[in-house]
């Protein structure tokens, strides 16, 4: 029997597979396709203090083996999420991880604080959204700011805090170490890379916001490299993501050093992807000689 359950700080996961933030809404739509209780966990769409409409459309564009998005953190606001969205998920037997976003330290603190009322099991601190004009990504590219916001959020909550790192940096390790020192319980890696596509007909960027975040298999080698780098330097677990589409991809992430994984834009291609990968994972682990997920974690390091 291949053991696929995983224990992370504050989270007992029946398997290491969860949908990534922003690619699964608040779960309702995907519940038409399968029972959400099958998921290791659910990471919900980013929450901000007040409700946000987000950017103009078009908000998505296709790229080679990937896509750009610039949703712009559209969400009903943390109160709206707690009141209207989370009750739908509570009956399911799967932990909820809330993605916390903001433009200021105060907003992050407020959102984290409000979500710590028992409605979710963990926080994912989004200091890496490239698609909003202010806040978000600055916190994720400067180790000092990253330290500060992590520390502040930790003060506001008893929940485990996973800090989601931006790949748009020169030195991912210094970011990871800064948030570890600030008390992060884990890392989420990686958010999207900032990209652009231009339509030769209109002579304009396809995305109304001009730039968008690149996701999909195109970025997988970058995510694997960053996780491999960071794994050696920190002592907190990593939730890995970026372009996962197959059970072999999951094993590549585990070997690089991820303890669990999130599936993002692949949910758009195949709405059943999370469920299917969970089903395929035990056989894939066995094929490569592993008896558990844990055994594969960090296996590519000497």
């Amino acid at each position: 029997m291949t053991e696929i359950s995983v224990r992370l700080p504050g989270l007992d996961l029946k398997n290491p597979v969860m949908p990534a933030s922003g690619c699964f809404g608040f779960g309702k739509e995907f519940s038409q396709f399968y029972d959400l209780s099958e998921l290791g966990a659910i990471i919900i769409k980013a929450a901000t203090g007040a409700k946000r409409f987000g950017n103009q459309t078009p908000r998505v564009a296709e790229t080679a083996s990937g896509m750009l998005n610039a949703i712009g953190l559209q969400n009903p606001g943390v109160d709206g999420i707690i009141e209207h969205e989370l009750p739908f998920l509570h009956p399911y037997n799967t932990p909820i991880i809330a993605n916390v976003a903001g433009s200021t330290l105060e907003e992050y603190a407020e959102v984290a604080n409000k979500l710590s009322n028992g409605s979710v099991q963990a926080l994912e601190l989004n200091i890496s959204c490239p698609n909003v004009k202010e806040g978000g990504v600055q916190f994720g590219t400067d180790p000092e700011l990253a330290y500060e916001v992590t520390q502040e959020v930790k003060k506001q909550t008893d929940l485990p805090v996973y800090v989601k790192l931006s790949p748009n940096v020169t030195d991912i390790v210094s970011l990871a170490k800064a948030v570890e020192q600030a008390g992060a319980d884990g890392l989420s890696m990686i958010n999207t890379l900032t990209g652009m596509r231009i339509d030769p007909r209109s002579r304009k960027p396809i995305i109304a916001n001009q730039t968008g975040g690149l996701s999909g298999p195109a970025i997988k080698p970058i995510a694997i490299r960053m996780i491999h780098q960071v794994y050696k330097e920190v002592n907190i677990p990593i939730i890995g993501m970026g372009g996962i589409e197959t059970a072999d991809d999951i094993i590549e992430y585990l070997l690089a050093g991820a303890n669990a994984v999130a599936i993002g834009s692949a949910n758009f291609k195949n709405p059943n992807i999370c469920k299917e990968l969970i089903e395929q994972l035990p056989d894939a682990l066995e094929k490569y000689g592993f008896t558990s997920v844990q055994e594969a974690v960090g296996g590519a390091h000497d």
Partner: protein, 253 residues
Amino acid sequence: MIREWMKVVNHQQIAFQTYLLELQGEISTLVERPGQFVHVQVSDQFFLRRPVSIADVSPVKGTITLLYKVMGEGTEALTKKAVGDKVDIVGPGGNGFPVEQEKGEEALLIGGGIGIPPLYYLGKQLVANGINVKSVLGYRSKAELFYVEEFNALGEVQITTNDGSVGEKGFVTDALPHLESIDAYYTCGPSIMLKNVKEKLDGVPGYISIEERMGCGIGACFACVLETSESCDKGYVRVCSDGPVFRPGEVIL
């Protein structure tokens, strides 16, 4: 809504760069309203699915019919599918046109180019419900005409072409019939057309089907969002799941 590998049972060119694709599978039994769409995975080479309206449903054959125009690489690659091939489809998606008019009322269908397809299945249902259907169909030129016969079978049809090569020269808005007789209109086409139709038919009850670039196509990613015009509580709607059909007053075009 399900994901399914549907079987190609008919695929043919019906006009300049315009194709009819008939697909067999369970999704055909799940269609609830005209104006719904399917999300087509053309091949592994494309990262995003393509939304295409359901132009017709055959409960007998267990098929849906799509009418699509080659607009870029995805629709170009779609033309390569052969009868017998399986195509990866998610659907049916969205809330389509309501078919709630009273028997004997007059309905006006206004379609532009590749916005025409969903109006066909709608027209069939309206006629089946005893509603009188008139259609105004706009095409770029004679070479691009399709489904004119089919619409003729539903009721009176007025054609416009941009170059005047057939029907009236101009846009659909130049050829609208006497409006006094119309109880409701239903329209789909390029956004500039929708805007003009909305203005011209101000006051007449109507339904507008809107296109927007999509990510998930099921309401989860917020890619396809439109601002709502009125004091709608949420302030936005998702074209893929709240639409693609909206009331003219509901959204900002």
